[in-house]
């Protein structure tokens, strides 16, 4: 029983619908990586028809259902619709962050984002400003601000609320990407593979066209 208390926070986080990764909750993540503790957490969750689900090659954990009744199916399809609706704004944001910070790699778990740096880069480039203005108006972010400052602060605040970003120190404008982003990549990859969209190939031919 005491072990369950030790993982109380972890179970609580799972039941709250949070994604557990190394960045958000290293202790819990380690506990879930360990088969023995994971089994205990699993056994606890099983009592209320929940299970520990994982994504991104076992680096991200979240809470799923064991048995799917009509009710659960309804909830899941509502959630799925929500994710699908947030895909475009999130992807636009990811591409904006990647391009504005001049990086090769898109944000992944643990990658830091310095808001002030990013903001000044976006402010200096009209194309980035436009992209930010466009994406901040999506329903997911719902900004009505006309200033870059207002837009970007709101977008980051929403992303922290949604669990895609983490702000380790509330006094600093440094954010960390969480494993939920890796989950997002997996969702896109899943859609790409099941619907045979061949997104990667399209992007490659497009970039080769750009080079020519």
């Amino acid at each position: 029983m005491s072990e369950i208390i030790a993982h109380g926070e972890l179970i609580e986080r799972l039941l709250r619908g949070e994604f557990i990764c190394r960045t958000t909750c290293e202790e819990g993540w380690r506990a879930l990586k360990n088969p023995a503790t994971r089994d205990r957490v699993e056994a606890y969750l099983n009592q209320i028809n929940r299970t520990v689900a994982h994504a991104a090659e076992g680096e991200v954990f979240f809470c799923g259902y064991v048995n799917l009744g009509d009710n659960e199916r309804k909830l899941i399809s509502a959630q799925f619709r929500e994710i699908c609706q947030s895909l475009i704004p999130l992807v636009e944001w990811l591409v904006l962050v990647q391009e504005a910070s001049g990086q090769d790699a898109p944000l992944t778990e643990g990658a830091p984002v310095r808001l002030t740096e990013l903001q000044s880069r976006i402010e200096d480039t009209p194309a980035f400003r436009e992209q930010l203005a466009k994406l901040s108006q999506y329903r997911l972010f719902g900004s009505s601000s006309s200033s870059v400052d207002g837009q970007i602060k709101l977008v980051f605040k929403r992303l922290v609320e949604l669990g895609y970003l983490l702000r380790p120190n509330p006094e600093k404008q440094i954010y960390l990407a969480t494993g939920k982003l890796d989950y997002l990549y997996e969702v896109i990859r899943f859609i790409d593979e099941t619907e045979s969209l061949s997104l990667e190939a399209q992007a490659e031919t497009a970039s080769q066209r750009d080079l020519l």
């Binding site: 709250r16 979240f62 799917l68 992807v91 090769d104 989950y183 619907e195 990667e200 970039s207």
Partner: protein, 406 residues
């Protein structure tokens, strides 16, 4: 002969030392602008093979050997050159070994000694070259091809390194220790050089190379994953741009829901600390410690306001418009004085047909009376007319007031 060589070598090195700045500038810049140099210097350097001109009309460059010396000495990571030509080195070694055997057989010891020295030099430089190649490869792996910027460039660099590794490995496979053993025969020096030392080095190199190959593949996988994600994002935007009415298919409508989407609804609201549970004391203490004390003492002093010029002029005359209700009350008091009789306030209100509500009129009359200075107040008398509240004692309901002269 050897003293000549010695002298010439020292001279060459001195020449290099004298022009160290120029050599380094050329190394870093790739080529040198000879207009800035004296023609004598250029001639000396080109004659000694330090600088050379690849094509007529091209600027002067550093010769390959000097470059290699610097790259090796400085451990410059930009150096990607790897000499994977095991075949020719092996052929040279075999040739020299045959020379040595022949000289030994004909009892020409001085020649044999010279050949043996040459052969050791060849073998050692061959193994050194091999080790150097591996070191270069490791250097590139350890900083993850940091000298090139983009992921696709890193992937290309990785592929180059992989091809070099497989070339090296192929080269190592060419070495047949059986042949070398036969060649060495029972000559102790040859066996030591060609079999023992070479074999040890080669096997450790081959081992290391396979580790290198594994690491390179791992890195390539990581690079490809990153590149794949970038492409995935770009592709997604491209696709949704091209197909504005695209909607994600309902992947959760199937009987078997993909585990990726099997995400439970959040069940718990955030919990709070229980103030009655002594076990929660540390949490409570932490919460209290987290409360920020606001101290206004340490607030920065307000900047002293700048002095403004003060002009002493006569104050402008202004008047406060009188409240008409107040004026009416004053008139009422005057009427009392004029008539010299007691007068009811409500009757006055009615007779003068004043527009105010009876209650506010009474309040204003009482207020006006109380507001009089003591000197004036003593001339008037105010008599409230009304009745005691029927239920609650001590309450007096004023229905009207009567003002009169004392």
């Amino acid at each position: 002969m050897s003293s000549n060589l010695h002298q010439a070598g020292v001279k060459l090195l001195r020449l290099l030392g004298r022009h160290a700045e120029l050599v380094m500038d050329t190394y870093l810049g790739g080529s040198i602008d000879e207009a800035k140099l004296e023609p004598g210097t250029v001639k000396k350097l080109t004659d000694n093979g330090i600088l050379w001109r690849p094509e007529p009309g091209e600027p002067l460059r550093l010769s390959r050997n000097v470059r290699a010396l610097l790259e090796d000495g400085l451990k410059d990571e930009r150096n990607r050159q790897i000499n994977a030509n095991v075949g020719s080195a092996l052929a040279t070694i075999k040739t020299l070994a045959s020379h040595y055997r022949e000289a030994r057989a004909s009892v020409d010891y001085s020649a044999a000694e010279a050949y043996l020295a040459d052969l050791s030099e060849q073998v050692y430089s061959f193994t050194e070259n091999l080790r150097y190649s591996i070191r270069v490869l490791w250097g590139r792996i350890n900083n993850e091809f940091g000298y090139v910027g983009s992921i696709s460039a890193k992937i290309r660099e990785n592929e180059l390194a992989q091809s070099q590794v497989s070339e090296l490995l192929n080269g190592l496979e060419m070495i047949e220790f059986h042949d070398l053993g036969e060649l060495a025969g029972d000559i102790r020096e040859l066996r030591r050089l060609l079999v023992t030392s070479l074999q040890e080095t080669l096997s450790s190199c081959a081992q290391e190379l396979s580790v290198v190959q594994g690491r390179l593949l791992e890195l390539l996988g990581r690079f490809r994953k990153i590149q794949g994600r970038t492409r995935l994002l770009k592709g997604w935007l491209l696709y949704t741009d091209l197909h504005p009415d695209y909607e994600v298919a309902d992947h959760v409508a199937h009987k078997q829901i993909p585990s990726l989407f099997n995400q439970a609804q959040s069940l718990l609201a955030p919990a709070a600390v229980d103030v009655h549970n002594p076990q929660h004391e540390p949490q409570l203490l932490a919460l209290v410690a987290g409360i920020k004390a606001i101290s206004r003492e340490n607030l920065p002093q307000h900047a002293v306001q700048q002095a403004q010029p003060v002009a002493v002029i006569a104050a402008e005359a202004f008047d406060i418009p009188d409240n008409p209700l107040k004026q009416a009350v004053e008139e009422y008091f005057c009427a009392v004085i004029d008539s010299g009789r007691n007068q009811s306030a409500l009757q006055y209100l009615e007779s003068q047909q004043l527009p105010w509500d009876a209650e506010s009129w009474l309040f204003q009359v009482i207020g006006g009376f109380e507001g009089l200075s003591d000197e004036h107040k003593q001339f008037f008398e105010l008599e409230p007319l009304g009745e005691v509240h029927p239920i609650y004692s001590g309450n007096f309901i004023i229905r009207d007031v009567e003002v009169g002269l004392r």
